[in-house]
Symmetry: C2
Subunit: 131 residues, 2 copies
DNA sequence: GTGGCTGGTTTCCGATCGGATACCGCCCTA
DNA sequence: TAGGGCGGTATCCGATCGGAAACCAGCCAC
């Protein structure tokens, strides 16, 4: 099992480079932020405000919508720790962990063919410019 | 190489069941019709009007947009056979064939976990109904 | 010359997506 | 009593998505 937060490394605020071209990847899961949320949860549960850090410009609304979607699909679990302080933690379900694995395979294919993808797209952009 | 159309089996008009729940699959490629278009091209080049058949309700506009997108990304090639009759054929590029293979792997994962996906989603729908 | 097939384009329209901004209750600390 | 952090909601807005319907040129057969 994973250690209780304090023992886990905090999320790297720059784990998603703002100029990263990942929107060009042909595979998509959920909405715009969903794949990154899954990635953020791979080392254990995370709090709402913890997730906002590496996700740069995400607004609370967008992050909430993304989390609700993942929760409804059964990929993410939301747990309210009703202690004296407010504390909500999100974690991967086993199904969500499996999805992340499958997504990794898709990412791997993308990485392997990245140069071809870029070249083909540039050729396509110039070749179909007039239509 | 593939035989010249007349020798290839025509596309099954019902190859995409209208009640097929594939929109529930977590992986998406391109726009709404793109994965089905790729699938239609796996046995060789197809004509525009040939593609419309198994794609049930697709409008010419939507199919055109989808094909242009795939062409621009370098997954599909468009060839105009300027003979006496008008004839346009769409085919997979090597890159597109590779994408279809990777997509197959994602589909396989989805098929393997289909029951879990359905169960989890139903639980999620009832569990988060009030939020 | 009229109609039909092919492979589209154009216009319009409603639905959805995603961001900006403001606001909220609850709890803690100073 | 005021302010700050947490975990959100509510409202508005512009951009994009996707379908319906109309229209089009080129070529064919009747």
């Amino acid at each position: 099992m994973t250690e209780p937060e304090a023992e886990r490394a905090p999320l790297d605020p720059e784990m998603f480079d703002p100029v990263c071209p990942s929107p060009l990847a042909p595979f998509r899961v959920g909405d715009k932020w969903a794949p990154m949320v899954l990635r953020c949860l791979q080392d254990g549960p995370r709090r709402f405000s913890e997730l906002k850090v590496p996700l740069g410009g995400v607004t609370a609304k967008s992050l909430t919508r993304s989390l609700r979607g993942l929760e409804q699909a059964g990929f993410v679990a939301r747990e309210e720790h009703g202690g004296t302080e407010r504390r909500v933690e999100y974690s991967l379900t086993p199904l969500g962990r499996g999805l992340l694995g499958a997504l990794d395979a898709a990412c791997e294919w993308t990485r392997e063919h990245w140069d071809e993808l870029i070249d083909a797209q540039e050729a396509g952009l110039s070749g179909t410019a007039g239509r």
